[in-house]
Subunit: 223 residues, 2 copies
Amino acid sequence: MTSHPSSQNIKLAVDAVIFSIKDGDLQVLLIQMKKSPFTGDWAIPGGIIDDSETTIEAAERILKTQTGVSNVYLEQLMTFDDVNRDPAGRVVSVAHVALLPNTQAKLETTEKYQDVRWWPVKKLPKLAYDHKQILQVALDRLTAKIQYTNIAWSLLPLHFSLTELQAVYETILDKPLDKRNFRKRIAALDLIEPSGKKREGGAFRPAELYKFKEKTLKYVEIT
Amino acid sequence: MTSHPSSQNIKLAVDAVIFSIKDGDLQVLLIQMKKSPFTGDWAIPGGIIDDSETTIEAAERILKTQTGVSNVYLEQLMTFDDVNRDPAGRVVSVAHVALLPNTQAKLETTEKYQDVRWWPVKKLPKLAYDHKQILQVALDRLTAKIQYTNIAWSLLPLHFSLTELQAVYETILDKPLDKRNFRKRIAALDLIEPSGKKREGGAFRPAELYKFKEKTLKYVEIT
DNA sequence: TCAAAAGTGTTCCTGTTACACCCATGA
DNA sequence: TCATGGGTGTAACAGGAACACTTTTGA
């Protein structure tokens, strides 16, 4: 609520679980740690918040510097506050979820980390801190949210085919969907419109490309 | 994530939006402030986190000391971090939602506040800080969660009639429900069982009293 | 016997699921 | 002309919504 005479010794951090769909898998962007006691382990990008920035701003800044990605969808996930979650001291972390289309943005990290790369969520390496738990909560959130919002736009490029849209749902929900029923539902939701373009080049009928009418979070009903 | 050389000057607080159903209304427990610049305004109970407690523990402690209530359902809501949300300095607050049955617990606050009382969410006084926003988010969460979880148990006494259970849903959803359809859905969910007791005393047929099989959060499907 | 809340089934309707074939294109 | 993914409609089914009367009790 407000200031307090006694001095508090808690650091406030942000973490960002970054998802994208690559090679037909849901993948997460992780950085590899140098610092003990997690040397070699992988971690969700994160860092300490500056006094004058919000947590979302901090997450954007840290994403940019630690992984090279920017301009992504970001939402607050949950705050993780176990007293011993960081062996170096009391650190409370406001975790976020970031979603981005499958673009080939160049990944780059700082000298503080060994490496950055995408990992399929089904084949994760050993994770530092409580990041396994954070990732699980993020995954649950994404799985739930794809079903009752239009959030798929954040995982797709500007123009996309209905098959590509369906693949996003199938990948996240981890189950096949019926093509005709899927298209009926999407049509009923009235969230997308034809872009006039077509995806050509394959040895088959070109796909009509669509775009989202609005790229802002909307609550809808999808099964 | 971890410690950082530069010193951070952010205080970490918790707030707790406490809901209960009283007199057929959804009500929220607020405390009245003495301190400038919010003198006379009402606020969600809250305070600074101690170094060695989790946010949930802090919320429990603060609820007890600032309002006298304890033993409630508590869950993390969202973290509020606008840079200027507290005029006294940078304070990031991890907001929680607390739910309690309509018991007649004695309310008591500390000398730092003028008063504690329940307010119907439809007739709120002027709120301090960003507490109007926090309360709105809490209300949205409760309205959503009553529909897909068994969380109603946290708002009811151990034994309750089906009519009382229905009233909880009707109050939170703010709309009347069909008695027969409601009972069918509840029966299908298999979350409650007859307690063998009856609510007697009225000039009418006594109601069978039920109890929840489990008082832990379960995800279900209710319309 | 009256007033008040408790308790109980059926029908209709709407939305979800299951399912198979023709289309357009490039090789 | 063939292989490939793109695109389309209908019938069966299940779950949700609408709806009214009888029961039990205390006064």
